[in-house]
């Protein structure tokens, strides 16, 4: 394998590992704020118990996100020097704004949010929680702006092969940014909704009868069932936006080789880049035309349009895009079925008497958000190939001149440590759930609510 492919795999591995944790912290920050505000409003202890359990998951995920994120900031220079040399004038300020407006905010207030509850007034602690949640969302915004600009670049001019910014409004509000941002935020909230529901279901299966667990399960199921239809709608709109700006990606998602009307929706196939055709195709007539153009005879772009006269392929490899798109959509519909089914059962039996089978199903789907999110990112990122910045810079032109052996050995190093860390992460979350189920108290301190006189914190052992 050559440096280019290895570098792509390495970047893919690093960012796949990284995105798992922000996907959790982006939404979990807001969920924690919700728990905290419910507690302030009702004074009901269960909300604080829920907060205390999930804040541990948050702290753990945040740390994983920070350390894997530092890796990302170095990858640009170590593996992709051509990226910043060509588009640094646009990418640079966007990344700088992410660090300045988001990273410091979240990192500093995280300390106060985690360890400051006994040292500051309740409202300051709540406000710190808000700032952490706000910081993670700001960080999402800036990085999505940059990523979207790489898909749908505008507001720049090329001088001697280097990109210069001409209109920052156009750069920030590039055509795919609003869709991608909404799609990612919803993905994060769905991931957390299923994680909260799944871990709560696990604790119930282990026999936890706590009110905090029931409430968390309710919050998870209700928010999941409310958000998943919105996500399907947002995904559809995002797809139409992609059809307009990156038709080659849509052609690969649909495994459609020839441009034309009445294009079928391919349910399953094995796309073959060599013969440029699909094997074992199973499809619904006119389906793709209907979905993408809302007309039976609507014209859908085909992959063969993206081969130049001298035979250079300017579309992505079809199979990875095709399959990851189907994994994402399939997971999404499984989420729809389970969350709506769960909602019906919740109304019928209540959170305390959910049927075991449903609890098992939620357990099994705890990390379904990760699968859908990763599959979605693979669809959009592999779908942009061979471009790194659509129409401006190819991936090949940006790769660094590092020996393949060096990239391979570090890649193996990363993969080993990531594999271990994923196992440890999931193990520790279930271990925390097990410990909480055994009823070890979260705290011996009485939490003051906003407005009440705060009581002196009890020292451990006192």
């Amino acid at each position: 394998m050559d440096t280019l492919l290895l570098s792509r795999i390495q970047f893919g591995a690093n960012i796949s590992f990284h995105i798992l944790f922000p996907t959790i912290t982006i939404a979990l920050g807001w969920v924690l704020l919700f728990f905290k505000l419910r507690f302030s409003a009702t004074g009901d202890r269960k909300w604080m118990d829920a907060y205390m359990f999930w804040v541990k998951v948050f702290a753990l995920s945040f740390a994983m996100g920070v350390v894997s994120g530092i890796t990302m900031s170095f990858q640009f220079g170590t593996n992709w020097p051509g990226f910043m040399e060509t588009v640094g004038n646009v990418a640079g300020p966007l990344l700088a704004y992410e660090v300045l407006t988001a990273f410091f905010l979240e990192a500093v207030f995280l300390g106060i949010m985690l360890f400051g509850a006994s040292r500051v007034k309740p409202w300051v602690h709540t406000f710190a929680t808000f700032l952490v949640a706000f910081g993670t969302t700001m960080s999402t915004f800036w990085i999505i702006v940059l990523n979207s600009w790489m898909h749908t670049p505008q507001g720049f001019e090329l001088r001697e092969g280097v990109v210069f910014a001409t209109d920052w409004f156009d750069i920030i509000f590039n055509p795919s940014m609003p869709y991608r941002f909404v799609h990612m935020m919803l993905a994060s909230f769905l991931t957390v909704a299923f994680l909260v529901a799944g871990i709560s279901a696990l604790r119930m299966l282990w026999g936890d009868k706590g009110e905090d667990v029931k409430s968390a399960l309710r919050v998870g199921i209700i928010s999941a069932s409310a958000l998943i239809p919105l996500q399907i709608l947002a995904g559809d709109l995002h797809g139409l936006n992609t059809l307009e700006h990156q038709p080659a990606k849509v052609a690969a998602m649909e495994a459609n080789w020839e441009t034309g009307p009445n294009v079928p929706l391919v349910l399953f196939a094995i796309p073959d880049d060599e013969t440029r055709s699909n094997k074992f195709e199973l499809s619904i007539p006119n389906g793709a035309s209907l979905i993408l153009t809302h007309k039976k005879d609507g014209v859908v772009p085909g992959l063969n349009d993206f081969v130049t006269a001298d035979g250079e392929v300017r579309h992505p490899r079809v199979a990875p895009v095709f399959f990851s798109f189907r994994i994402m959509v399939g997971t999404g519909f499984a989420m729809l079925a389970l969350s709506w089914g769960g909602l019906v059962l919740l109304r019928k039996y209540g959170a305390g008497k959910m049927p075991k089978l449903a609890l098992f199903a939620f357990c099994a789907m705890s990390f379904s958000g990760w699968i859908a999110t990763l599959a979605g990112w693979y669809t959009t990122e592999i779908g942009r190939q061979p471009w790194l910045v659509q129409g401006v810079l190819t991936t090949k032109a940006a790769v660094g001149d590092v020996p393949a052996g060096m990239v391979l050995s570090t890649l193996i190093g990363y993969l080993i440590i990531y594999a271990i860390l994923i196992v440890v992460y999931i193990f520790v979350i279930t271990y925390l759930a097990r410990k909480a189920t055994r009823g070890e108290p979260y705290s011996i301190r009485r939490y003051p609510r906003g407005g009440e006189a705060s009581v002196a914190p009890l020292q451990a052992g006192a």
Binding site: G77, F115, G116, W168, V428
Partner: protein, 336 residues
């Protein structure tokens, strides 16, 4: 006023200053918390918890300065970023591995089953060690001009050891300030054991740097520069003597002066760092690329500078707030 008139001159200069400043803050702040990690094996089980507690609320933010520094290099001097990081590919990888290991074990040692705690304590130490050694190694390679020859690598290995000992020193100085009783006495002992590394490290870099290039030699030793540069070594020497003196006498009654070793250590790091910055200016890649050649387009730098002017004071404000909230001796880390 021509100097301030041309944005192609003062913008790169400003960004070089901002970047150097972030690296300095990173070295001092993450220096002390990496140093605390390095001291882990020397502490007993109860002390280990307090070591971690002393840096708990701060380490996330401390590492963010690294992201800012590398981010500024990336956004303000893109070609230099590529050259430096591809040259330092392997040490960067080792450092990242160390930082990952460290950050993860920080959380895990408190959350994983108690039987695994010694393992995570070790991972915390090992991660701190890998990160410190590789940073020292990169420092040495940078001074030697980023070329991989045997003498350069040998020099970089020496700076790796010295920086690591230097970090453990500033970590111990932090602990003298943030802890009390037995642990504080231990920290004083550790600081005494670490100060030689700092002195030798600063000495080695100061000795070696001028001989790497004639340009740097002349910058320091030509008359009259040597006159107004003389406060650097003199002040450094005074700080070292002060440290020696105070470490021999601490702890004092009522915890008097317990903050001074850390402050003096910060002073030493700062002086050494400023000396280095003076040596290498105007180069961002030693003897190859100047900050003016590597700088991004002025219009892009303007946009960043504009934001920075508003945001940086706010960052300082809430960073100070955080240190103020967690002032005093380190107590047990609790979420409630």
């Amino acid at each position: 006023m021509d100097y301030f008139g041309d944005p192609n001159v003062w913008l790169p200069w400003t960004f070089a200053a901002l970047m150097s400043f972030s690296i300095l803050i990173y070295v001092v702040l993450d220096g002390f918390d990496l140093g605390v990690g390095l001291l882990m094996p020397l502490a007993n089980d109860d002390e280990k918890d307090r070591l971690v507690a002393s840096i708990g609320p701060f380490w996330d933010a401390n590492e963010t300065w690294l992201v800012l520094a590398i981010g500024l290099l990336l956004v303000a001097f893109p070609p230099a970023h590529g050259v430096i990081l591809t040259a330092l590919y392997l040490p960067v990888f080792v450092m990242l591995l160390g930082l990952i290991l460290r950050g993860v074990s920080f959380e895990m040692r408190a959350k994983a089953p108690i039987a695994q705690k010694p393992m995570w304590n070790f991972a915390f130490f090992a991660g701190s060690l890998l990160a410190s050694l590789s940073q020292g190694f990169m420092l040495g390679m940078y001074i030697m001009g980023l070329t991989w020859t045997l003498p350069h690598v040998a020099f970089a290995m020496i700076t790796a050891v010295f920086l690591t000992v230097g970090y453990s020193f500033i970590g111990a100085a932090w602990l003298i300030w943030k802890t009390s009783d037995e642990l504080q006495k231990h920290a004083i002992k550790w600081a005494k054991g670490g100060i030689w590394g700092l002195v030798l490290g600063i000495g080695a870099i100061s000795m070696a740097t001028p001989f790497v290039s004639k340009r740097i030699f002349e910058r320091w030793f030509d008359f009259p520069q040597i006159l107004y540069l003389s406060p650097f070594p003199i002040a450094s020497g005074a700080l070292v003597i002060f440290l020696w003196w105070s470490l021999a006498r601490l702890p004092l009654k009522n915890d008097r002066l317990s903050w001074t070793p850390f402050t003096a250590a910060v002073g030493l790091f700062t002086l050494a760092y400023c000396g280095m910055a003076y040596s290498f200016y105007p180069y961002v890649v030693p003897e190859q690329i100047t900050i003016y050649e590597a700088a991004s387009a002025p219009e892009s730098l303007f946009i960043i500078l504009f934001g920075t002017l508003f945001v940086l004071p706010a960052i300082f404000g809430y960073t100070l707030l955080s240190y103020y909230i967690f002032r005093g001796k380190a107590t047990e880390l609790r979420y409630d």
